[in-house]
């Protein structure tokens, strides 16, 4: 294995990290799962450019630096520092996590007894946690998910009971901070029982520009019958951060999952592994993604929609705007199993290259074993239309304003789907700022 993986990172794993046995402070009940994950990681090894899933993202170069495990630093985080991740005008409950650990003092959690929000470490005996932790089928082949499960520090456990719902969204603020280069591994689990509904917004903030925060995060989502989850993930943090996000959802019959992914500046690496397993009929899945990357950013979106049973609908739209030297990757796979007749699965990826040096690699894939299906994918890449720009300018709109307007129009398909006005405004504002900033550079 050592020959395949980065030497210093391997040393860090074998020496720097306490073994699964030493992680017992978190949860004894999880220990067997940790051990299993560790052996899985050992057999998978770290990916290289020859690994098909990682052919466009050279992960090795992001692992070269020396990392330490992040220490708990909640005492140093103040409400003031959370501002970077807050959304103006948003009326919500909040859960503040520092390096994956919930900070009740900084949070405003709902008092509803039907909805449990706690640390994974505090939910030790929970049957749902035992049943679902690290069990998602799509995580089993992901080396970084295995690494996460083996060594994760802590995470959020959200359980919504039968018919439970909240009067306003839950805003999860992730704070990543460490004095030195740190490898941070949170693991979250969201379980929605029958007919429960929830809206979750995630934002993140990095506090220390001087040190690299490498976040390797896993979020598992389980939707029981007729449950519905709106899941917004806004990835906008400081430059000196590298992220690998795994989001794996499992949908049972009649459930609905709406996932929104916004990757914005300035993390130098963002890799999203989003996957949905459809195990019950009549489900609905909407995956919306917008990535806007500037400077040297590398944004890699991998999505996987796994139609295992009949009568499911999935819809995916990812849009990318690449400025400066940014590099984008989109790999979307739709798999339709033999029994998944009457599947409707659509996927679309459109990209806008705004600078000479920006580039995009895309692999929209269909793997279909059933005949009575309607599946399609589409991909485009191009730059903004000169004619449109000329039209706007001839109407007296400056170049900068015109370009910003065009990017906003391009992103509108995604932002328009956001159902929370405050969030929509927040996103449009951010897009405007980043585009203007990049054009002026």
């Amino acid at each position: 294995m050592t020959s395949d993986i980065n030497k210093s990172f391997y040393d860090f794993i074998s020496n720097g990290m306490p073994g699964p046995e030493q992680q017992t402070d978190v949860n004894n009940a999880i220990l067997p799962a940790r051990k299993a994950a560790f052996s899985r990681f050992r057999s998978l090894g770290l990916p290289t450019l020859k690994t098909e899933e990682w052919r466009y993202t050279n992960i090795q170069r992001y692992l070269k630096d020396a990392f330490t495990l992040a220490e708990e630093e909640q005492s140093t985080v103040t409400a003031e520092q959370l501002k970077g991740a807050s959304i103006p005008k948003l009326d919500s409950y909040t859960a503040v996590l520092v390096n994956g650990r919930l900070q009740p003092a900084l949070s405003q959690l709902p008092a509803d007894g039907k909805i449990t929000i706690s640390k994974i470490s505090d939910a030790a005996g929970n049957a749902q946690l035992q049943a679902w932790f690290d069990k998602h089928p799509h995580l089993q082949k992901q080396p970084f998910a295995a690494l996460n499960a083996a060594f994760f520090a802590d995470g959020l456990f959200i359980e919504a009971g039968v018919n439970a719902s909240l009067d306003k969204p839950l805003h999860i603020i992730h704070v990543y901070t460490a004095a030195a280069n740190a490898f941070i591994q949170p693991h979250h689990l969201v379980v929605l029982h029958k007919s429960a509904t929830l809206e979750i917004i995630e934002t993140a903030v990095g506090l220390n520009e001087a040190a690299i925060a490498f976040v390797n995060s896993v979020t598992e989502v389980v939707l029981e019958e007729n449950a519905e989850l709106w899941h917004y993930n806004v990835q906008s943090t400081i430059k000196n951060s590298r992220h690998i996000y795994h989001t794996s959802a499992l949908q049972k019959a009649d459930s609905r999952y709406h996932h929104f992914n916004f990757t914005l500046p300035a993390a130098e690496l963002t890799r999203n592994n989003l996957s949905v397993a459809l195990t019950g009929s009549n489900t609905e899945t909407n995956l919306h993604g917008l990535f806007l990357a500037t400077e040297q950013q590398h944004v890699d979106n991998h999505t996987f929609v796994d139609h295992q049973v009949a009568h499911c609908n999935s819809n995916e739209l990812y849009k990318g705007v690449l400025l400066d030297n940014a590099k984008g990757v989109f790999t979307g796979k739709i798999m339709v199993h033999q029994d998944a007749q009457k599947t409707n699965a659509f996927q679309q990826n459109n990209n806008l290259l705004m600078s000479e040096k920006a580039n995009i690699n895309s692999q929209p894939q269909l793997e279909i074993y059933a005949d009575d299906v309607k599946c399609s994918h589409g991909f485009t890449v191009g730059r903004f239309s000169e004619e449109a720009l000329f039209y706007l300018r001839s109407r007296g709109i400056g170049e900068e304003a015109a370009k910003t307007l065009m990017v906003n129009a391009f992103a509108f398909d995604i932002t328009d789907q956001v159902h929370i006005p405050a969030l929509q405004e927040f996103l449009s504002d951010k897009i405007r700022r980043y585009v203007t900033g990049a054009i002026n550079n």
């Binding site: 299906v373 399609s376 485009t380």
Partner: protein, 480 residues
């Protein structure tokens, strides 16, 4: 009237029509693959030293390579030591068609390739490759008047060594992939075409490949060079007799288009696909690649793939010159346990280069049909343009259709579009045709032919007819 399930069963179970073996004497190389085999082939073909050295270099590269593992099917076990690498009909150097072994002529007749008739009526010059050696070449003299060279590879090596030496292996290097390396080491013969400057080749050039003789792998090598302002349309068609043992076909095709030249390469492939349980059948592992070396040059690949147990090839175009154009049109039909993993690779290197990819997959039975393609836009390829469309049609609920495109754009002025759809024949469409008095069999045929029309239209006339026939034979049981 029979219901559609019966029709589908018929299609799925249809046996190969052209499965017969021609009984003629063959000269065989000893079974096995080693340096001696290569020296034997080279000596048999009286090749110059440089070509032998090139073969040996390729063999050395081959030995260092491993079987690929990225394909979307289970790689069959190939024992390359059990194959004879050279088989030639004993009777040679024929001057006219009369001298051709009557058995071969009869076989051709059976396949619907009446050589004489074609010569007389269609104006197609046919270079018949029977196993590995050309036994008949027609219209040679007529072409020679224009300076067009159309001959077997062996002849080209003897008569035009400077051209062969200059271009051989420049598009598909000897170490390109394991099958190309194997081919470079042991290729027995093939076709060579050179169109001189400014000549528009007056007729469609065509070669019929057939695999005969037990346990011989077919390792053809085709090299087509189109000089400045020249044009050629080349047709390649294949049928093979039925065999129980799998046969490997690892050909290499290299196309070179210089300034303002245009090459149109069409293939109809109908090799033995194996029986309905997946026994036997040809493994079609071919490397085809063309380079638009000159400015404003154009290469167009058209393929109709209905045969072979496994079809695994990606005819590619390197658009090196500015304003060059590449095209790829494909229909792939798979039935029973057939596998097709095919598509194209287009490399946009020059400025204002354009490419168009149309791929139609039809899968029935328990077959798997995969489109895999790469569109790469280099940083210099300003204003490059690509459009890709791949559609899959599924007949029956046990087959698979997959699309794996790779798109890499490194130039912001490039526009790349890709779209793919997968569906089955609509019941509403069948119903519509039914209520117009067209039975289900004919309706299926009509719909499939309409579906593939966009590609079939690209074929030269003579071939289009054959391809349509093939498509209907392939899907027969339904097609009346």
């Amino acid at each position: 009237m029979r219901n559609s399930n019966e029709i589908i069963d018929d299609i799925a179970n249809k046996e190969y029509e052209f499965g017969f073996t021609t009984d003629i004497e063959m000269e065989m190389a000893p079974v096995g693959l080693n340096e001696d085999t290569i020296r034997y082939i080279s000596a048999k073909k009286e090749e110059p030293e440089w070509l032998l050295q090139w073969r040996l270099k390729a063999f050395a590269a081959f030995q260092k390579m491993q079987w690929p593992s990225w394909q979307h099917f289970k790689m069959p076990e190939l024992d390359l030591q059990k194959i004879s690498y050279y088989a030639a009909p004993k009777k040679k150097s024929l001057k006219s068609l009369d001298e051709v072994d009557p058995e071969i002529l009869a076989t051709m007749e059976k396949l619907g390739i009446p050589l004489n008739e074609q010569k007389a009526l269609t104006g197609v010059a046919v270079d018949v490759v029977f196993d590995s050696v050309s036994v008949a070449t027609t219209f040679r003299e007529k072409l020679a008047e224009l300076g067009v060279i159309f001959c077997s590879f062996g002849e080209a090596v003897r008569e035009h060594p400077e051209l062969v030496k200059e271009y051989l292996g420049t598009v598909v290097p000897h170490s390109d992939n394991i099958f190309a390396a194997l081919n470079a080491a042991v290729f027995s013969d093939g076709s060579f075409v050179y169109i001189p400057k400014g000549v528009r080749c007056p007729m469609e050039l065509s070669t019929y490949f057939r695999i005969n003789a037990e346990n011989t792998g077919q390792f053809e090598r085709t090299l087509i060079i189109c000089d400045d302002n020249a044009y050629v349309s080349y047709l390649e068609g294949c049928t093979a007799p039925r065999r129980d043992e799998n046969q490997l076909h690892a050909a290499v095709v290299e196309l070179i288009a210089l300034n303002h030249a245009e090459i149109k390469y069409s293939t109809v492939q109908n090799w033995y696909p194996g029986d309905k349980d997946g026994n036997g059948g040809i493994y079609n592992f071919v490397t085809k690649r063309g380079i638009c070396k000159g400015n404003s040059s154009k290469i167009s690949w058209t393929q109709v793939e209905t045969g072979s147990a496994i079809t695994w090839k990606y005819p590619s175009v390197i658009l090196q010159g500015d304003d060059a154009e590449g095209e790829f049109y494909s229909v792939a039909v798979t039935r029973n346990k057939q596998i097709a993993d095919t598509g194209t690779k287009i490399y946009h290197l020059g400025r204002n280069t354009r490419s168009r990819i149309i791929s139609k997959g039809i899968s029935a039975g328990t077959s798997d049909n995969t489109y895999r393609g790469l569109v790469q836009v280099g940083p210099r390829a300003a204003n490059a343009r690509n459009f890709t469309q791949c559609d899959s049609l599924l007949i029956g609920d046990r087959c698979g259709a997959h699309t794996f495109p790779y798109i890499e754009s490194k130039n912001s002025t490039a526009t790349v579009e890709h779209e793919a759809t997968t569906s089955k024949i609509g019941e509403d469409q069948i119903f519509y045709l039914n209520q117009r008095g067209i039975n289900t069999e004919q309706a299926v045929a009509l719909i499939v032919n309409g579906y593939a029309k966009e590609v079939l239209n690209q074929l030269p006339m003579e071939f289009a007819v054959e391809a349509q026939k093939l498509l209907s034979i392939t899907l027969e049981g339904s097609v009346g």
